[in-house]
Subunit: 592 residues, 2 copies
């Protein structure tokens, strides 16, 4: 029906007759001539309808925005003064010699041209097929397709086999709520939708598949936070006879190739590595944004004997932390700005935000500092802080003093916020591997050990003794890939011996009965020659969101759900017939 | 952990030291030496443990089938007389110089070597991770991965965008039962799992995406027939501004490239085409197996005046058919064989299977024929049959006479069975497009029109008038790709005008309310500039099953369900907690 795409026509086509199909992006009448910007996936081209060709012109008078046209025309230079250098096709126009209106359109409820105001998201989702016509959205989905195809080609070439795992399956161990699917054939029983293919990919390693990947749909029935979706996509990878060094090196190559292919960006080689402990120490976070150069500095030992209880308390608490954060040129911060930051750290439980402004330390020493807390700090403490932070005149030092968790969360978040707001962050891609995670963290509510990753993560090879003696100190063989403060992916070398797996379940206080019930098939499989193996999973939606600089993962999915897990386009979820429920042996329960 | 894969070692490695990882496929002790066939994804290699190396030998004495080993060794020629030409690595062996037992294995409950007897399928599925270690299963999944990657590369290169559509969605229109997913956020409401991405891919065309594909998981809660699965995979494709000629030509190229790449088979170019009417006429089926040269021949007009009621009845019924099927050299068939075939056509409702054996027509004419029905047929009828079928001495002619549907099904199936059993079928790949399908078929139970494909299939451009005057005669723009009697894929040009879509719904007696309720979003979308578009979907499981000559689609899926829609490995589906049901506002209903 067409000879070319609209956006590909340039001066190389002058005097050629071409056929185009597309949508009326804009129509203007000027000097008795009708101008139409015709749009398809590739871009826009200007089509001119001249009144000399009466029949076509009459037809063209009827066309409106979003009409679907087939146009035959001759390519010509635009008249002098009308060339549009902003447009790839801006030097030419197409004089229509034939026109077929393939379909009409009512006036669209949302505007599609680049001048569109920010449209209500509910409306965008309801008319998603219009929203997706916007060049910006087209570009995002195109980039997403390019990302998946680049990743697949890399993995295919590395001998990974794309293998599909079931969607209708049994509860998986991620711990969020499962979506359930009632079975008609087995009344009263349910399938669960997988939160990840974790157990299946381990089973595939036990199946001798050696290298597996899948771009896998995953499901979590979570209370929807800002940027979560009931279904999301992950690039899921697993390999046998491999250790963490080999696996992370291969994944780095993949991500480097991805950024090179899709964004023409060269990422560092190798990616830097941080231990979990170091990340928490320096950045207060296990997903540090390395674009921000600010770092947390420990001053706990300096504050143990000070009178100031706000500092001395946490400084003498084994679970406490006192840390400083130097803000270059922060002395300029106003009272009001400092109040805002104080409010911000409050979100993370910090009860205040002490600071020192370094106005003139160089010549006046202590007299050159300005701070409400200064009177409470002896010289030794002040000198120590100045030395460790390396503060110079014009800087400001923030302090966090509380339980370690609170200080890390509060100063970690403040660090990132300050970095970006104060123009201190690099404009760069800064990937980092975080490694040597603890195996367990203490659940404060239940006072039990919890797996920091998941219960199939292997402990470090030299850490097995700690499992018994000091589980909290035991490091795992997990690794997370973090990019600009976002976790792109996480994985681990897995447990491949049944007895280790059973010990981990015990530590997690999963009873033998419960373990057999939930993971019995895995425990059985471990008896029959499980190879050493490990893997990783990348959040594809989040990766594409970062790469396209989109404000939300909803913007990189064709048909996302709202934050209430509904689809305004199709109306899902919806009520169903009583007859259907009866077939499934279900009844609705009245809800209050 | 390893330097090479087992199956890749050949005489090029002689005297090299290599490291291998894999499973003990077989262990034999011979002349005081231990021989192990070590297996990984790539194949087998023979490893030799020599008693000269006492430490390793002692370790090797412990190893059993399916132990996981890491072996270091030197490659050497096998001694004369022990070369195994059946094995790619059969000229060499690896003399072990190092051994690490990475994992032990209990005795596997199913045998994995090539001598294994046919194991009970339930057991194979329960221990799927063992079953999948068998080279045959490895090869099937590897071919499947190669198939998907070849298809993806072709479509990527043709500008198709891989776009994901939702799994949690609304009922789709395929007509089988949907799997439902209760919503916790919206109590009493349900998502449905898609039977296909049909409506979403049409919406993507309305979104201007132009060319889409997806390897999409689909779900149907059907009563499970021989070779169906609750979830299956389809290669789903849609394109805009395209007609059936262009689309089918592109798909042919894709399938040709697939067979060339994966099987080194050259398929015909172009694929032959049959109209639906011709397919039914000649093969009694709209998915004819063209490897079988036999054809149905109409003899209805010859039988209208015969005394034989079995023929005359259908011959005078407008819905009846009388057809003959010539079987070359069929005169050899025994009474017993004919009885078997008679029983076989009974499955399809045929009440008998009349025949004529052509013993000596050349010299004796009618006297040379042998048949229980001969006495009932006048000369004209016999002469007509002989002429039309082109029967020669030694042949046999079968007859079908009944409602057209019964004759087509019975003789169509008999044709295929005879062809394969009597050695008449070619050993070849015989693809064929079937086109010009009727838009509708009459549902005999409800006496209503039903869409032969689905209600979004466009009627032929010259067929619109028939929609009103004679819907049964109206042809659609659908096309099916058939390979060796199996439907590989089916698709159509879709309706892109709202008024046509509404007329089709009316004809199908879908009330306006019902149409709006189920497909309102599609009808709305059609108002806003829907481009002409069409597409196709291929059943990936079935395609791979054909290409790997597997007995079942379960053999080309990593973790299939049983015919009772259960997974013996994980135990899905399973009972769930009352608390979970309560959260979903559901109660179980007692079933009798």
């Amino acid at each position: 029906m067409r000879s070319h795409y609209c956006g590909t026509i340039d001066t190389g086509f002058i005097d050629q007759t071409i056929e185009l199909c597309g949508w009326v992006h804009r129509r203007r009448d000027h000097g008795g001539v009708i101008f139409v910007d015709l749009r398809d996936r590739s871009g826009l081209v200007q089509v001119v309808f001249d009144p000399d060709r009466a029949e076509i012109f009459t037809q063209a008078e009827r066309i409106r925005s979003e009409y679907v046209l087939r146009v035959e025309g001759r390519v010509r230079h635009r008249p002098e003064g009308t060339v549009n250098p902003e447009m790839p096709t801006g030097e030419i126009e197409v004089l229509a010699t034939g026109l077929e209106v393939l379909n009409a359109s009512e006036t669209p409820p949302i505007q599609l041209d680049e001048y569109h105001a920010d449209v209500n998201e509910e409306l965008r989702l309801r008319y998603r097929y219009l929203d997706l016509r916007r060049p910006e959205m087209q570009q995002r989905l195109r980039t997403r397709a390019q990302v998946t195809s680049t990743l697949r080609r890399f993995l295919d070439d590395q001998g990974f086999l794309d293998i599909e795992t079931p969607i209708l399956t049994k509860s998986t161990p991620e711990g969020a709520r499962d979506y359930l699917v009632p079975s008609r054939v087995h009344p009263g029983e349910f399938y669960a939708l997988p939160q990840s293919p974790q157990l299946f990919k381990q089973l595939l390693m036990m199946s001798g598949m050696d290298r597996y990947y899948q771009i896998a749909r995953c499901f979590r029935d979570e209370d929807l936070r800002a940027d979560r979706q009931p279904e999301f996509t992950q690039l899921d990878i697993e390999a046998s006879f491999i250790d963490e060094a080999e696996l992370t090196a291969l994944m780095e190559r993949m991500i480097r190739e991805l950024f090179r292919e899709v964004l023409s960006v060269e990422l560092p080689d190798p990616f830097p590595r941080l231990t979990y402990d170091e990340a928490m120490q320096r950045y207060g976070s296990d997903r540090p944004d390395l674009r921000v150069p600010l770092e947390l500095v420990d001053v706990k030992d300096l504050m143990q004997d000070v009178d100031f209880k706000v500092f001395a308390g946490p400084a003498n608490d084994p679970n406490g932390r006192v840390a400083a954060l130097r803000v270059p040129e922060g002395a300029k911060l106003s009272r009001k700005e400092i109040d805002e930051y104080t409010k911000y750290v409050g979100i993370f439980g910090a009860r205040g935000l002490a600071y020192i402004k370094v106005n003139d330390w160089a010549t006046k020493g202590r007299e050159g500092l300005q701070s409400p807390i200064l009177k409470n700090l002896p010289d030794a403490a002040v000198d120590g802080v100045m030395e460790r932070t390396g503060a110079v005149d014009g800087d400001l030092i923030f302090f966090g003093a509380d339980k370690t968790r609170v200080v890390n969360e509060a100063l970690g978040a403040l660090r990132v916020k300050l970095g970006h707001e104060r123009g201190l962050a690099e404009d760069a891609w800064r990937p980092v591997w975080v490694v040597d995670f603890p195996m367990f963290e203490r659940d404060e509510k239940t006072d039990r050990w919890q797996a920091l990753h998941h219960p199939f993560t292997a402990p470090g090879e030299d850490q097995l003794e700690l499992l018994a003696s000091n589980p909290g100190a035991c490091k795992s063989r997990a690794y997370d890939l973090v990019l600009n403060g976002t976790e792109l992916g996480g994985g681990s070398i897995r447990i491949h011996r049944e007895e280790v797996q059973r010990r981990i379940f015990e530590l997690l206080q999963i009873s033998e009965e419960d373990a057999n019930d939930r993971f019995g098939f895995l425990l059985t499989a471990l008896k029959f020659g499980c190879p050493p193996h490990g893997g990783i999973a990348f959040g594809l939606d989040r990766l594409v969101m970062l790469m396209t600089a989109s404000p939300s993962i909803r913007d990189v999915m064709a048909f996302p759900k709202t934050q209430a897990a509904a689809c305004p386009l199709t109306g899902a979820p919806a009520a169903v017939d009583q007859a259907q429920l009866k077939e499934l042996a279900l009844r609705l329960r009245a809800t209050s």
